[in-house]
């Protein structure tokens, strides 16, 4: 049988039982737009697959138990030391299982890459406005995945039960314990009694390898099905409209590119794992609550939370025989809660501000949405300042600085710098819009100087291509919403304050430099 005939018989077998031929044909020719920034989400997806594969390997030897054992493995410095079976089995994977250390390092590097890719993907989606209708739901799922990723990563690096990760668990326990009314009960339930006990690692192991990966799989499936069904967004440009999608068909081009890219991500992760040591738990020693190592640092995606906790002012309320630890609750729960809720709701907030109920499939250039871009820059600045404070001890020792000064600097910085970032970014966006306008009207500066007969020097400008001119002017500029406080009959509306806030936000949101119109361009060409 020829290859074609074999393929035909398989296709026949499937189609006679499912009638899938028409659906398959349509979807194999599905068009995917191409842009490097669309690969960020792919990196996250592929890292997840790498995590599943390498994680499965690790489960074959890892013993998730806090039972006390005496170490008798091949790593001499810990010979005869009491430790948990979890820590001992992690040492076993690192030193006796061939390829075990490589797999551990692939797993950890892939986890860091997974979170980095999620954050970069989120930034791409945010700054280009890809979250707008009809994709708000998928944005919310994405925020869910980010949140789960942070938890999953934390649980993952807590499993080896080394001195560093045990310290992280101790801090998590303190956060649970700080919850008003139910805190100590929840902590005792989570740990099966007093911290650290022997129940926590087996329990988070189940959560880490079963519960959360299951949730990830379900959410990622829905996330991708929605991308598939709603079709991918595309950047603006000649021939690209809200009504079409321009790109390469799934089979063969996109399949080869995306499939190849999976191997590239896996290869790069393996390379990192081969040459760059990560989380050398044998150097930290087993966990015991009475010891600690200086420079204790969480993984990077937890660093901003740690930085927030570090910079919190020392406030507790003690009254009526009870204590509320604001120094834990505010940085550990309240601020992250506000941030993540705000992020999840942002598509709906922006739609409320703009009053825009239409579908959007063309992406915004970030400069053309100055308010949104500025808001993003502001949030990133906030997280960055807290992240810096999360590493204040490392920064202090490496750069010979005072830890107190870094802490005070970031305490003020976290309040002052984000608003500055907002203003600067917004001004930058508007300046870039002005530059675009200039470019369309007067063309590109060639660097050629021309001397006029009367002696004056001018620079020769070259008109830009019609494609470029279209790209720089194809975005739409919405007029401010008319939100009068009184209705048509002169009666005051309900919710005047809400209306005022909305009008104010709308005015800030639509602020822009007028783009060049065709009429303007024609006029200037006449001169």
């Amino acid at each position: 049988m020829t290859a074609e005939a074999r393929l035909g018989s398989v296709a026949n077998f499937v189609d006679e039982r499912t009638g899938a031929a028409a659906w398959m044909k349509k979807n194999l020719q599905k068009v995917f737009p191409d842009h490097w920034s669309f690969l960020l989400g792919e990196v996250a997806l592929y890292s997840f697959v790498i995590l599943l594969l390498s994680g499965t390997f690790l489960t074959f030897w890892f013993d998730p138990s806090q039972r006390e054992v005496i170490y008798e493995g091949s790593y001499a410095p810990l010979e005869g030391i009491k430790m948990s079976a979890a820590y001992a089995s992690t040492l076993h994977i690192s030193f006796e299982v061939r390829g075990g250390l490589l797999m551990r390092q692939i797993h950890h590097w892939a986890a860091l890459l997974f979170m980095a890719a999620i954050v970069a993907h989120l930034m791409r989606v945010f700054f280009t406005g890809a979250f707008r209708k009809p994709r708000e739901g998928n944005w919310v799922i994405g925020i869910g995945l980010l949140t789960l990723g942070i938890v999953e990563g934390f649980l993952g690096y807590s499993l080896p039960d080394d001195l560093l990760s045990g310290t992280g668990i101790r801090i998590a326990e303190a956060i649970i314990q700080a919850l008003p009314v139910v805190g100590s009960y929840l902590a005792y339930f989570a740990f099966g009694g007093a911290f650290p006990g022997e129940a926590f690692i087996p329990r988070i192991y189940t959560v880490h390898v079963l519960l959360l990966p299951g949730a990830f799989l379900a959410l990622i499936t829905v996330h991708l099905m929605l991308v598939w069904y709603q079709k991918h967004t595309q950047f603006p440009g000649p021939g690209r409209t809200e009504k079409n999608v321009v790109g390469y068909p799934l089979m063969p081009t996109y399949m080869a590119k995306a499939g190849g890219f999976f191997f590239i991500v896996f290869g790069v992760t393996a390379f990192l794992a081969a040459v760059a040591s990560i989380n050398p738990i044998w150097l930290y020693g087993p966990y015991t609550p009475g010891q600690i190592s200086a420079g204790s640092q969480p993984d990077w995606y937890m660093g901003w939370l740690d930085g927030l906790v570090r910079m919190a002012p020392p406030i507790e309320t003690a009254a009526f025989g009870h204590t509320i630890s604001w120094n834990i609750l505010i940085p550990g729960l309240i601020i992250p809660g506000i941030l993540f809720t705000g992020m999840a709701l942002y598509p709906f907030i922006e739609a409320w501000i703009t009053g825009d109920k239409r579908e959007h499939h063309l992406l915004d250039r970030p400069r053309n949405a100055p308010n949104r871009t500025a808001l993003g820059a502001m949030s990133l600045t906030f997280v960055l300042v807290t992240l810096i404070n999360g590493g204040n001890d490392i920064i202090a020792t490496h750069f010979d600085l005072s830890i107190n000064q870094i802490m005070w600097g970031t305490r003020f910085g976290v309040l002052i710098l984000p608003p500055i970032a907002f203003i600067v970014t917004k001004r930058l966006c508007l300046s870039l819009q002005r530059a675009d306008r200039e470019l369309v009207l007067h063309g590109r500066e060639t660097g050629t100087l021309l001397r006029l007969p009367h002696g004056e020097f001018v620079e020769v400008h070259e008109p830009i291509s019609p494609e470029k001119a279209y790209l720089l002017t194809s975005h739409e500029q919405l007029p401010p919403l008319e939100l009068p406080d009184v209705d048509g009959r002169g009666v005051k509306r309900a919710g005047v304050l809400k209306n005022k806030i909305r009008a104010r936000l709308n005015k800030a949101h639509v602020e822009s430099v007028p783009k060049v119109s065709a009429t303007e361009l024609k006029e200037i060409e006449h001169h």
Binding site: K30, V31, R98, G99, L102, I171, Q177, P180, G183, S184, Y188, F189, A194, G197, Q230, P238, G239, T241, K243, N244, V245, V246, G247, P249, T253, A256, G260, F262, F263, I264, V265, G267, A270, F271, A274, V275, Y287, P289, I292, A294, R310, I315, E316, A318, A319, G321, H322, T323, S325, N327, I328, D356, D393, M407, P466, Y470, S474, E476, Q477, S517
Partner: protein, 331 residues
């Protein structure tokens, strides 16, 4: 939406530019050879992985410039795997970019909103279904159903009750009692005042009958730090000064912020620093918080000596150690 100004016209998709391999068969053959070469490099990577697994001993170290001494076994495995995967990917992408069609295709989008008639039919179907079930009319069924659904949600909560015991007063208690001997950790030896020189620090635990099986959950509350200063260096209230012994002062080592071990002692400034969140405590002023997020001083242990000169606790801790919790009476 009202976009009054006339926009610049869409010039349409730019014309397709042919690649070299599209027109020149020699270039196409060259691209094919390049792709095949990458796949072969990948195969060589797999061979390296297999060879490293079986033939490079895991205690062989090689010196590599920049990277220093590296374990040859690990490095061979890792690089072999990296090469075998990376070049499959590179080959596939090169193949797609040079030889597969690169003409951009335009597909049409359709608005997701269903036609009004279909939406109406959907609403009718829902209404009809709801009416047929009689849920709206038969309020007895509705109310009892909601009540039972709500109650059934309690069962998973009830079933999780045995995850752990109730805390009771446990968070407020430690092993320390009047007369408990201070023993070194590690070492488990009783210590006398003369064992500590001025400026020295020692971690101690309460003496227990079976030190081989000391529970981590006890260490998490019992760990104590001894620091010896010259008595005149203290700046303490009389009752606190009475809790020291010959310049030796004892504090809970468990941070009053989030429970990390407060292990960094600066001899010059006599400050204790928690490496987790940098809460800083002044030893000379009864571990008063002078910096960082902690809101309370470290609890001080009242110590003295027995007849033989060994350090003992005169009293248990007078307040709970470690991080705060709701039931803690901090006044």
């Amino acid at each position: 939406m009202a976009n009054e100004i006339e926009s610049i016209k869409d010039p349409g998709l730019p014309a397709h530019v042919h690649r070299k391999a599209d027109t020149d068969p020699a270039a196409a053959r060259r691209a094919e050879r390049q792709v095949a070469t990458m796949f072969l490099i990948s195969a060589a990577g797999t061979v390296l992985l297999i060879a490293s697994y079986f033939f490079i001993p895991d205690d062989l170290f090689v010196f590599i410039p920049v990277m220093g001494n590296q374990n040859a076994h690990q490095l061979g495995l890792g690089l072999g795997m990296a090469i075998s995967l990376f070049f499959i990917g590179l080959g596939a992408i090169h193949w797609a970019k040079t030889l597969m069609p690169d003409t951009e295709v335009v597909a049409q989008r359709h608005e997701f909103r269903s036609p009004d008639s279909e939406r109406q039919e959907f609403v009718d179907a829902v209404k009809e279904g709801a009416a047929a079930s009689g849920l709206g009319r038969r309020t007895l069924i509705k109310k009892s159903l909601f009540a039972s659904l709500g109650l059934s949600a309690l069962s998973p909560l009830i079933l999780l009750r045995d995850l752990g015991p109730l805390p009771g007063k446990e968070l407020e208690k430690t092993t320390w009692a009047s007369g408990t001997y201070l023993v070194t950790d590690p070492g488990n030896r009783r210590i006398s005042a003369s064992d500590l020189e001025v400026g020295a620090v020692a971690q101690v635990l309460p003496e227990i009958a079976d030190p081989e099986h000391r529970k981590l959950s006890d260490i998490a509350k019992d760990a104590v730090l001894l620091i010896r200063l010259r008595p005149e260096e203290f700046n303490l209230e009389p009752d606190r000064l009475a809790m020291t012994h010959e310049g030796i002062i004892a504090f809970s080592k468990i941070c009053s912020h989030m429970g990390c071990a407060v292990a960094l002692y600066e001899q010059q400034t006599k400050h204790l620093l928690c490496p987790c969140h940098q809460s800083t405590f002044d030893v000379t002023r009864a571990a008063k918080v002078i910096f960082g997020p902690s809101a309370r001083p470290l609890p001080q242990l009242d110590i003295t000596t027995d007849a033989d000169g060994f350090l003992i606790a005169r009293n248990p801790f007078s307040e709970p150690v470690g991080p705060s919790f709701w039931e803690r009476n901090s006044q």
